[in-house]
């Protein structure tokens, strides 16, 4: 499971630089759903620091924080 977690995180970071923005978004949701993933938060911050023009709302950072904490009760239902 750790390998899957690391792979998703790395894919997310690489996709944020090279591919489409949907992929880091999906990576954030997947990480947050499956684990208490601090890397999902970092990924959201990374996307915003890389691409966000100043003065705009950091959707990815806020979104990652919301998803990570909103997923908490759902995750509890599925995880041991």
């Amino acid at each position: 499971m750790t390998i899957i977690r690391i792979t998703i995180a790395i894919m997310g970071f690489l996709a944020a630089v090279v591919l489409n923005a949907w992929i880091p978004g999906i990576a954030i949701v997947a990480l947050a759903f499956l684990w208490r993933a601090w890397e999902a938060l970092l990924l959201g911050l990374f996307v915003d620091l890389l691409w966000l023009p100043s003065g705009n709302i950091p959707f990815f950072t806020i979104g990652a924080i919301l998803i990570v904490w909103v997923m908490e009760p759902i995750r509890k239902q599925f995880l041991v």
């Binding site: 630089v17 208490r36 601090w38 959201g44 691409w51 966000l52 950072t61 924080i65 904490w69």
Partner: protein, 259 residues
């Protein structure tokens, strides 16, 4: 059970700490006027250039495409062919680059500005932005207009670091722009990738290929009409506008500072 509960609590605390760190990093970045984002962008553009170089090398040299054929030949010939193809790709890439730079040099003779390479992906940003390899040290200012080699406006500089700048695409998704299609004023809504759509009053006669200009940018051209939908019986005429060049294939841009 007690162990699991403690472990859960520990993980939860770790997540809370990570959340606070992320918020703190964002705050520090704002307070330092983008110090952290400048570093992140240097790393990001280096990663993109490495990936871009690899993709160009692999697709251009034909090493993968002709592997089965080359396998039938002897090792020496295989090596020579690969080497020659690699050199040819490099020469072709340099030719394309030279051609683009020659066109931009011609543009430089007409107006003062800076030619800059694009150093990031043009499709990865969720905010319709991309990075160029020229910044404050090269004379790029915030609010500068970014032109394609054909002279069409493709974006505006929104942030400037020492040697790079962040450009927001003019037709970024959901962005609004007051334009003039021929003589008809139309507000265009960007849809990304150098495309935008707007609505003209009923019965407007707009031909395909009509140039689209922006009065607030001194009447500079931003695109051409690609298609129109509607006629005298419809409430309005839908106008589809696009930049004449495929924005995802551009490698150099020309930056003109607004005085």
């Amino acid at each position: 059970m007690i162990y699991l509960s403690n472990d859960n609590r520990r993980q939860r605390r770790k997540l809370l700490l990570a959340t606070l760190i992320v918020i703190a990093l964002f705050g520090i970045d704002i307070l330092t006027h983008g110090f952290i984002r400048a570093q992140v962008r240097v790393v990001g553009s280096a990663v993109w250039r490495a990936a871009d170089g690899m993709v160009r090398g692999m697709t251009g040299s034909g090493i993968l495409a002709t592997r089965s054929k080359l396998a039938r030949e002897n090792e020496e010939l295989k090596h020579q062919v690969a080497q020659l193809k690699e050199r040819l790709t490099a020469v072709r890439a340099a030719e394309v680059e030279n051609q683009e730079l020659r066109t931009i040099a011609h543009m430089a003779a007409l107006q003062n500005g800076v030619a800059a390479p694009i150093i990031s992906s043009l499709k990865a940003s969720p905010y319709g932005t991309f990075l160029i390899g020229a910044g404050a040290s090269e004379g790029v200012q915030r609010g500068a207009t970014v032109l394609s080699k054909e002279g069409f406006v493709i974006g505006e500089v929104t942030e400037v670091a020492a040697h790079q700048a962040l450009v927001k695409e003019l037709f970024a998704s959901r962005s609004k722009l007051d334009t003039r299609v021929g003589t008809i004023p139309i507000t265009l809504l960007g849809s990304g990738g150098g495309n935008a759509v707007g609505e003209a009053p009923r019965g407007s006669q707009i031909a395909t290929g009509t140039p689209v200009s922006v009065p607030s940018l001194g009447g500079r051209l931003v695109g051409l009409v690609g298609k129109t939908e509607g006629n005298v019986s419809t409430p309005s005429v839908k106008v589809y506008v696009r930049t004449p060049v495929n924005i995802e294939t551009i490698r150099f841009v020309y930056v003109v500072n607004v005085r």
